[in-house]
């Protein structure tokens, strides 16, 4: 196996994907709406943190429209808010966006249509839409789930971002309010559901250890890039433990 990547086993939103198998379109649309609303609350916290990190409301909203992948956006404003350079902020964001390439590849049988249409649909390739599409049986149902979830999440994520950015403008002292402590909490919440995959705990421990060890030794931006090397610890752990087949 290995050629067809598994769908994310569980969303960070706590939605039980195994409960999504089958079901009619109305049920899929309802689930898509629920996922959208949950994502909207992420959007609110992203908006607040982004303006606190020094981005304007317009830039914050543009990022949610154009980048539209949550973990990467949190990474950018997290690094910028901690005083990192733009390059140091963009690099980990693109590393985190790498998994969307995998999702896009796994969705090739689902995303049909002309080139222009596929190009437009590509912007909606994220955790939530991939998970919903792959929870369906046949390609037409998968495509409906992809589009319904994509539109729902896109609308709510951007509305939440705008709301948070406007509400967060003018917060006097981000540190006194503990906003800097929101970032590690947010990354932990994004990481936790992924830890059940084979090799994931080893990769996580290695990534954190590499980053910490390098902080006093290297310029800003290097530790987070180097943390990606933790992937090899995960691969080694997978080799040792036989891989459980995922459904």
């Amino acid at each position: 196996m290995g050629a067809v990547p598994a769908r994310p086993s569980q969303l960070q939103l706590g939605v039980d994907l195994d409960a999504l198998n089958g079901g009619d379109r109305r049920a899929v649309a309802r689930t898509a709406a629920a996922i959208g609303i949950a994502t909207g609350t992420y959007g609110i916290s992203f908006g607040v943190l982004s303006v606190a990190a020094g981005l304007s409301v317009a830039q914050t909203c543009a990022m949610s429209l154009l980048v539209f992948t949550g973990a990467s956006q949190f990474a950018v404003v997290g690094v910028l808010g901690a005083g990192g350079s733009t390059a140091a902020a963009i690099a980990p964001a693109l590393l985190l966006a790498g998994r969307n390439a995998l999702y896009g590849l796994s969705l090739v049988p689902v995303l049909r249509g002309r080139l222009g249409s596929r190009a437009l649909q590509s912007q909606l390739v994220i955790d939530e839409t991939t998970a919903m599409a792959r929870a369906q049986g046949e390609p037409a149902a998968a495509h409906f789930a992809f589009i319904a979830t994509g539109i729902s999440v896109f609308v709510c994520w951007n509305a939440g971002t705008a709301l948070g950015a406007v509400a967060g403008t003018g917060l006097a002292n981000p540190s006194a309010l503990g906003l800097d402590a929101m970032f590690p909490a947010a990354f932990l919440a994004l990481l936790a559901p992924q830890l059940r995959r084979p090799g994931a705990p080893a990769a996580a421990v290695a990534g954190a250890a590499i980053a910490i060890v390098l902080v006093p030794l290297t310029p800003a931006g290097i530790p987070i890039l180097a943390s990606a090397l933790g992937v090899f610890a995960g691969l080694a752990a997978r080799r040792r433990a036989p891989r459980r087949p995922e459904t």
């Binding site: 990547p5 985190l96 402590a181 909490a185 932990l188 995959r197 990534g207």
Partner: protein, 99 residues
């Protein structure tokens, strides 16, 4: 952050999303590449957790963010909603800094 940097980021993340549906089509990827992509976000997220908790301008420090992360960890484990997790972390840090 400049607008140029923001657009560069947008172009990069879009390119990653579109590589399958627009460029590759049905050709299968090498299994090794799939494995790396599957795991890649995990060490980077863990690295971000560590750095955003302990790094302060190139030095490792232990401050109010550490207990805030501990509170967040308990809530994540209890499957609390995302917004509850991040605001509880902020509240913990804010409270400790008031004391």
């Amino acid at each position: 952050m400049s607008w140029a940097a923001l657009l560069l980021l947008a172009a990069g993340s879009y390119a990653l999303k579109a590589v399958g549906p627009v460029v590759v089509g049905r050709r299968p990827l090498p299994a090794g590449a799939v494995e790396v992509l599957e795991l890649l976000s995990i060490p980077v997220l863990a690295g971000l957790v560590a750095l955003q908790t302990l790094n302060s301008g190139g030095e490792l420090v232990i401050d109010a963010r550490v207990p805030a992360l501990a509170v967040a960890a308990v809530l994540v484990w209890r499957r609390a909603p995302f917004l509850v997790v991040v605001f509880a972390a902020a509240g913990t840090a804010a409270l400790l800094r008031l004391l």
